[in-house]
Symmetry: C2
Subunit: 331 residues, 2 copies
DNA sequence: GTGAAAGCGCTAACAC
DNA sequence: GTGTTAGCGCTTTCAC
């Protein structure tokens, strides 16, 4: 049913080796043979079976990326960057969503183990540092966006602590002294570091951290609203809120608006990630942007390098962030 | 370097056939042998090479899905549904984004031709009906979300015409008679059908279609704002706007708000797709929802059926839609 | 119940 | 410049 290299060879009256050679733009094949083979390939609508080829070459030229979520996230931009970087180097990118479920992630990681792909980039993972490190010994993996403490594999993120610091300083510079934080209890280090940055910014400006001004729960949307409600019900209301994600910020904005508070005037809210929605939202959301596309290109170039080289680059790279001020902080 | 079935066989003192048999939970293998092999597999941390297996079995148990976009879309929900349906049937789903670029889509379709995947689900494609039909002869493909006129392959969408009709009728029932339309010039049939539904709804209620009330351009965000600006600058302003996508609706809402118009009160706006942002937006956006998850599950079950059966089901299935009224229509 | 061996489609020595 | 052939890792028929 499916046409193979043998069929092409027979039809063209040459050996499979010759067909393979023209297929791979290889070495010396006479012009006439090349032409003939190409013509036959077209006629027979032949497409080389990549299973055979990959099996033989022991490589697939494919990188897998596992994202924990696919809605309202910055991941798609990173994947877009990865695709650009990968294509430029002759690689393909296939992406999958784990929904932060360990059993799904394991199933997907299996594509790495069974040699369906040459490498995996994890944009957030349920795996522990120990597991990651063990995998790193045998496979090419990289972390992007979300680091793991103790993981000794190629990692690319922004400097979350510094980025949060810069964001909070921006709020302080606008005259805010009462700045609340919406964070998470997640083990994800990005949120841990963002909280650290928040605390350092306050400390550096001699502002005491108030327990009332810190709300921590999950990344779930509603927590932004709950936090905003709590903050704005306080006797001593904050004048600004820093949320460790844009989604939490949006939810907080929505709740504050519902309570009759004019966000951007009575209350400044600043998020993190610069997801696509930020610009569109009413009011548009101030935030910290990560260079997603660049991160994607960078991590894929690095991992492809690791795939082809014996010595692995397991460094931790930090990419530059940017604080973007929009309507939600009155800009 | 990589451990193979041979290594396992040797270590366990059995033949590769036996290892293969326990691997596949196959036929008759003695309990003792099974145990021994499993133990060895664990010890050697063996993972079967899927290239070898797939080559031999001539199947990959993998479905590819190509989405035109990955940001702010309903596609991720469909892919999520596909994954659920696929996993239940022992298949994996890999997804890729074409960014509506034909050369990227072609590159991605190549994974179908070179047998990296067993089938492809296209959520919007740049291919023509002729091309689709030709492909359909040799490969398992399905269209989901976006139909193509004249395409004779498995297709799953909502009834766009009827859905738009229902949406516009909902606006009419709320007392609106001056209803504008934001649509696109795209060849995508969903938007063509949605416009048809709009026209039929007006006609059925003896409302004349006004040329001034129709704005058509691309799906690009800014067109929602441009349309809203034009509409609301008219002498005879519409009281409602139906947009063929939520993104256009959101952009229109943003512009109207900027013009001092209270959306939901002075002006009703209704979108299409029920993307995740709708609920979060201020005001929350009324829309037409597609049963994304169900569509994903359904299409993947159908295409897997096509893969395993000789006779292909190339029918066009229409899934039920739902009009969801929220704040942007004053609900 | 188990093993030997052919072969999936391809590439890359090796020989000429 | 071209062909022959081994073999990538696996499954499966066919013997036994």
């Amino acid at each position: 049913m499916s046409v193979t290299i043998k069929d092409v060879a027979k039809a063209a009256g040459v050996s499979v080796a010759t067909v393979s050679r023209v297929l791979n733009g290889n070495s010396n094949v006479s012009e006439s043979a090349t032409e003939l083979v190409n013509k036959t390939i077209k006629e027979l609508r032949y497409s080389p079976n990549s299973l055979g080829r990959n099996l033989r070459k022991r490589e697939t030229k494919t990188i897998m990326v596992i994202q924990p979520a696919s809605v309202h996230s910055l991941y798609s931009e990173i994947v877009a960057g990865m695709q650009v970087g990968a294509h430029a180097l002759g690689y393909d990118v296939i992406s999958m969503t784990s929904y932060s479920a360990i059993e799904i992630e394991n199933r997907q990681m299996n594509m790495l183990f069974n040699r369906t792909v040459d490498g995996a980039v994890l944009l957030g993972t349920q795996l522990t540092a120990t597991e990651i490190n063990k995998l790193g010994e045998n496979y090419n993996i990289a972390l992007c966006c979300e680091s793991i403490e103790g993981a000794n594999v190629l990692t690319v993120t922004v400097d979350d602590e510094q980025a949060a610091y810069d964001a909070v300083v921006a709020l302080i510079k606008k005259g805010n002294k009462k700045i609340a934080l919406i964070s998470t209890n997640s083990k994800a280090f990005s949120s841990v570091y963002r909280e650290k940055g928040y605390r350092r910014a306050l400390a550096d400006h001699n502002i005491e951290v108030s327990k009332d001004y810190i709300y921590k729960n999950t990344y779930d949307l509603e927590n932004g609203a709950i936090a905003a409600e709590e903050f704005m019900s306080l006797e001593d209301k904050p004048t600004a809120i820093f949320a460790v994600s844009d989604l939490l910020a949006a939810s907080a904005i929505k709740q504050a608006t519902k309570m009759g508070i004019e966000v951007g005037k009575d209350l400044a809210i600043l998020g993190f990630d610069n997801i696509a929605m930020c610009e569109m939202f009413i009011p548009s959301i101030s935030t910290v942007s990560q260079p997603c596309k660049e991160m994607g290109i960078f991590v894929v170039e690095k991992i492809i390098n690791n795939i082809s080289n014996v010595e692995k680059d397991n460094k931790y790279y930090k990419m530059p962030h940017e604080v973007i001020l929009r309507e939600s902080t009155g800009d």
